[in-house]
Amino acid sequence: MATLIQRSDVGEFRKRYRWLRLFVVFAFLAMAVRLFVLQVIEGDVHDAQARRNIIGETRLATTRGVIRDGLGRVLASNRPAYDVHVVPSQINLEETWPRIAQVMQLDAETEKRLLERIKGIIQKGGPRADQSTLLSVDVSRDVVATLETHRGDFRGVRVSPAPVRSYPYGELGAHMLGYMREVDAEILAEQPDAGYRAGDRLGAVGVEHRWESYLRGQRGFQRFISKKARREHVEALQKRYLGGDHLEDPTPGRDISLTLDVDLMRSASDAMRGHLAGAVVVVDVRSGRLLAALSKPSFDPNAVSGGSGKEAVREAFNRYYSDPLKPTLDRTISAAYPPGSTYKPFSALAGLEGGLLDPFGRVDCRGGYEYGKRYFRCTGVHRNVNLHDALVQSCNTYFYELGSRIQIDSLAEVGSRFGFGAATGIGVNPEARGRMPTRAWYTRRYKGAFRGGFTLLAAIGQGATTVNVVQLALAYAALANGGTLYRPQVVRSIETADGTVVQDFPPRVRRLVDVEPRHLNRLLTGLAGVVSDRDGTAYAERLEGVDLAGKTGTAQVSQLAPRGSDQAQVQYFHRDHAWFAGYSPVQSPEIAVVVLVEHGGGGGKNAVPVAMKVVADWQRLKAERLGRKAEAQDE
């Protein structure tokens, strides 16, 4: 056939086929190698991933333990609350969405923002669209009821229980209790085995934080084969992939009983009304248990624990952190202050022990003390005073005289024996350890120039000496109980949810302070005189029937007002701290009380009334409870 092409030369191609063959073989070898890697070497990894794809896991929520006070009143518990989620891929944006917005009473702006987010997720596709997206937290009961009863009309909407931590006493004792916060990325990354997942809440600050591992409980889980599995396969798949362990019940958290007494806390709070900032600590001198620990100003843990949504929490924190009075600071433990005259009993003890102080020897106070080129002021002109008079009237000159004779290290040594300058071991919240300055410390701090004046200031609890409120309370408790320094205790016992005590914490003695009874008695007589003697610094503010001994203090403040303060604020921040530290009853002490009114001015006038009221309430409560017990026994 003429039209058909002629045989042409194919010789040109001969050598080229080899290269084509080589290329083909190489391509298929490469694929075989890749398959080997995927299926044989990395097989396990992909197998695990495929398993994760088909096995779903529902987390079964646990309940956080309840925190109670010493008399069983609930301080922190869980309030049932519900979150609303939507599954973007399942929701009908035209019909269902407007109804959801209406039921949940979303304002136009929020509704638009949420709708945009859902649309974004749908557009992006992928697995995210099939997962729940949080719409709103802690919705009202009405909304829950509507959504649940008309479940058929709200396809793609899920209501899930998400209990919110609730603190019935609000601000009262918030620093000791703490609050809840969302787990952060750092913890998730650093403690992968702790079992937290994004969105979980954990205790922040206080008992909630320190006892987190007891309170949180253990979450359960239920594993199941994906809903996409066909019914006839489910059983075989379960057998193959789930084994027997696809259900684990949650374990509820442990309950915790504190040593605190809410009534006494409230009394302290009431007594502090009228003061901007300060702290009150009441401790049982026979055990070191804290009966009240109040730090003012406080914060509302309900506002920051997440119930009302992230925005509200952020807002609350902004408010607290911008407050110059620092409401989140625990003034009972986390801050150290100069103790002022409340420290005098310990200086006196150092003097008595060193034989430098004759309890009957007199010093003539003319309103001050000349030492070297400096003149150290007293609070007044006390004339001829002995040790008792000096304590009762809080005469500085007497203690300057002591300071001029004693070594500063002896003062520090006695202070350290009573627990100053070291952590108390309370175990809740970070501790400001305070400072007992020594010669070595001054030498380090002032580059070798130690001056005797430092010792004079240390003797009246000023200068570089600082203490925290709990330290001072425990030290006074040790004076009152004859020398037993206890470790402050906040947690009394741990119980299971049904009330069985798992662990009971007995009082722990930190140290038996070696102190001679005759020295101690002289001091205690002095402290009693502060309140009962006509010329005592607390005498004017005494209340009828209140059995109290102690020491006032007015501590000069050396720190500056926060930056940006106005004139009134500067004046406030430069005012002295008012102190009172004491114990009750005078004859057989049961409690020690320390009151600090930050920038409150004179201790006698400002701190004593607070202590009086607290002790009065303590006496009343004690009587009431004894009466009730007696009644109960009668019946």
Binding site: I5, F13, W19, L38, D47, A50, A229
Partner: protein, 372 residues
């Protein structure tokens, strides 16, 4: 004349090895399709796909008959007919823009009664014929320069341009790579190859900057860094790799692949049938399949090398090239070696247009092998 046109009577001339391997691959494909689409049983809007393995059998039968018909015709007739077929093909390809049915953002299909078909598929053998015709007519002995290759590349470029506008990256790649493979059997100057590589690089850059749609770019991006965006494009590629890896050495067993059965594979009947196969039959099963495809490619080269004229050799290389490149790209993208470009696995993936095209190509190869 009869000797050339009706050589079908010489039964022994049929390339039995070729036929057996083709039928083998297609059969495995149907079995795999049965498993792949069982996931769709009662699966809402995709339930209609559950029975397509039956349709696939019809297409295989029709395709094999068509292949026999093509094989029966002396391939040298196609040398004469090539220009007419080619122009006709281009015209139908253009029709897509007028009549197209939109599938996921790209218009590739033409509806013809109750059938839809994809003209760009049928264009593949027509490009092969046209380029082969050019190689046949160009029997110089000296090495070709770049200028000499402008004409055959233009044959590929016209449908490529049309397909890119649909847009369909995978098919255009097949046109170009097949044409280049065919040209590689002629002698080419080293400088021409180097310049060609340089030009390709420049063109790719320009394409990336100005020619590609965002979803195409995303596919390539996700290939380059699959971990970066798990929710989107890369999700598909990663799930396919998980399926393959889940197969392990011996596989999960027929109908037992969880990735497939639970719907974690996207388009497992058309784009990712290999992932289904690999999950259920494991590394050993995959090796068998790879060997079959490798055999197919090497066998067509062998047939080309035995062809008695330039046209026959070029047709065999071209038709084999279409199959080789599609197989390589589909397998490669399933395994994560190549970006997801959406080409079918020859003889294995579901789809009438694809299946008929592959079998027509094999018919051409067979025609050449019967007349060496």
């Amino acid at each position: 004349m009869a000797r050339h046109t009706v050589s079908f009577r010489g039964g022994p001339h049929i390339d039995m090895w070729l036929l057996i391997v083709v039928v083998l691959i297609a059969s495995i494909g149907v079995i795999n399709l049965y498993s792949a689409t069982s996931a769709y049983v009662g699966a809402g809007h995709r339930a209609g796909l559950a029975d397509i393995y039956v349709t696939q059998i019809y297409w295989i039968v029709v395709g094999l008959l068509l292949a026999m018909l093509v094989a029966a015709i002396d391939y040298r007739h196609f040398e004469r007919l090539a220009p007419i077929l080619y122009v006709g093909g281009i015209l139908v390809l253009m029709l897509v823009f007028v009549l197209a049915t939109d599938v996921r953002g790209s218009a590739r299909w033409i509806r013809l009664g109750s059938f839809t078909f994809q003209p760009s598929e049928f264009m593949k053998p027509l490009v092969v014929l046209m380029v082969a015709r050019h190689i046949h007519g160009d029997h110089r002995t000296e090495a070709r320069s770049l200028v000499d290759m402008v004409v055959p590349l233009a044959y590929a470029a016209v449908p490529t341009a049309a397909v890119m506008m649909q847009p369909d990256l995978g098919t255009s790649l097949i046109y170009v790579l097949t044409t280049l493979s065919m040209l590689m059997i002629t002698r080419i100057r080293a400088t021409a190859i180097l310049t060609g590589i340089g030009l390709t690089a420049t063109t790719s850059y320009l394409l990336w900057e100005f020619g590609m749609r965002e979803y195409q770019k995303n596919r390539i991006r996700s290939f380059l860094d699959p971990e970066a965006d798990k929710a989107d494009t890369a999700w598909h590629a990663l799930q396919a790799q998980t399926a393959i890896g889940n197969g392990g050495v011996v596989g999960e067993g027929f109908m037992q692949g969880t990735q497939n059965q639970f719907g974690f594979l996207p388009d497992q009947h058309s784009d990712f049938p290999f992932a289904v196969f690999a999950e259920e039959f494991g590394f050993l099963g995959c090796l068998v399949l790879l060997v079959l495809y490798c055999f197919l490619a090497l066998w067509t080269i062998r047939i080309a090398s035995q062809a008695k004229d330039r046209f026959g050799a070029a047709v065999a290389v071209g038709a084999g090239g279409v199959i080789f490149w599609q197989a390589t790209f589909n397998l490669g993208m399933s395994m994560g070696l190549l970006p997801v470009v959406g080409v079918t696995l020859p003889l294995f993936s579901y789809g009438g247009s694809s299946l008929l095209t592959m079998l027509i190509c094999l018919g051409l190869v067979m025609s050449v092998s019967m007349r060496n």
